[in-house]
Amino acid sequence: MSRASGPRSGDAIFASVERVNAELFTLTYGAIVRQLLTDLEEVEEVNKQLDQMGYNIGIRLIDEFLAKSNVSRCVDFKETADMIAKVGFKMFLGVTASVTNWDADGTCCSIVLEDNPLVDFVELPDTCQGLYYCNILSGVIRGALEMVSMKTEVTWTRDMLRGDDAFELQVKLLKQVPEEYPYKDDD
């Protein structure tokens, strides 16, 4: 009988999935951000919209991640954060991230990206200084984790476009929601 094998590595999955041209990807994302800036005018609104778009992607992407990575449970937040960094980022963006800055109770950590294909050709003009250009990523992580019952808050703490030396996302676990019986007795 074939036993369920363990999770696959990010590299193995990355090698087997279909890929698109990196420039096409980067420029498409750029065009979306550009259009949002024109449509919404306020930088703050654009941040919000990007986060929402990311969330909508995340709640779908999680199933692809789970199906391809062969991960069978996400109960432990530490393991989960590691999975996102090592497998998730590799699988969907082709880069590896590292997890650092754990707080004492293990509910808050940082995901650090040294390399980020979204920003390849980007420089923020003076008018957009408040823009979190990659805010879609924080939304994706928030959405994906919500689908595995982890309510999180994801914020940028370092951003290379704002002069920092890396991209750093702080992921804070707010609560884990147990699975409840969804029906009431009387319906």
Binding site: D63, E64, L66, A67, V71, R73, V148, Q176, V177, Y181
Partner: protein, 169 residues
């Protein structure tokens, strides 16, 4: 898990006539108990209306899962019966068999439950269910006009599923 003991299934239902008639019914639920998908290939008898039927199936799985976790002799950390667990927490079952059918079950950490009811002599279907999950990923979640959490109406998914299910033995 096996009910009615051993491999002596009696009275035995007609042996599968040919490859392709092994599957009876499939259900898919999300974590909120919404029946995303129901497909029937061979179900001669229906006694409940669809809503009741779906609810009953979901309830069966939910209870069975918490029972199996509660009875786990290898784990100390199991809480009280019926207390909600985190998805993926505790052990779970993957199939049970009665004298007339076999029910195979898979749950993803995102709470998608896939249930396939087949002829009792079908083998281990865990890989098959994983494959069905990947069909769901390809043809449902990647379909931009599909709203997550709503019932699945994707022809491509249906066609591919039918085709695959026919090959299950």
């Amino acid at each position: 898990m096996q009910f009615f003991g051993g491999s002596d299934i009696s009275p035995s239902p007609p042996a599968p006539t040919a490859a392709g008639h092994n599957a009876n019914v499939m259900y898919m639920f999300n974590r909120n108990g919404v029946c995303l998908f129901y497909r029937e290939w061979n179900r001669p008898l229906r006694t409940l209306n669809p809503q009741q039927d779906h609810k009953l199936m979901f309830g069966l799985l939910f209870s069975l899962k918490s029972l199996t976790a509660k009875m786990d002799p290898t784990s100390a950390d199991k809480g009280n019966l019926g207390v909600p667990q985190l998805p993926g927490q505790g052990c779970s079952f993957h199939s049970f068999r009665t004298n007339t059918y076999k029910l195979s079950f898979m749950e993803s950490p995102s709470g998608i439950k896939i249930i396939l009811v087949t002829h009792p002599r079908t083998g281990d279907l865990r890989e098959a269910l994983k494959y069905i999950y990947s069909l769901y990923v390809e043809y449902v979640t990647k379909n931009p006009v599909y709203a997550p959490g709503s019932p699945i109406r994707c022809d491509l998914f249906n066609t591919n599923l039918d085709q695959y299910v026919r090959s299950i033995s």
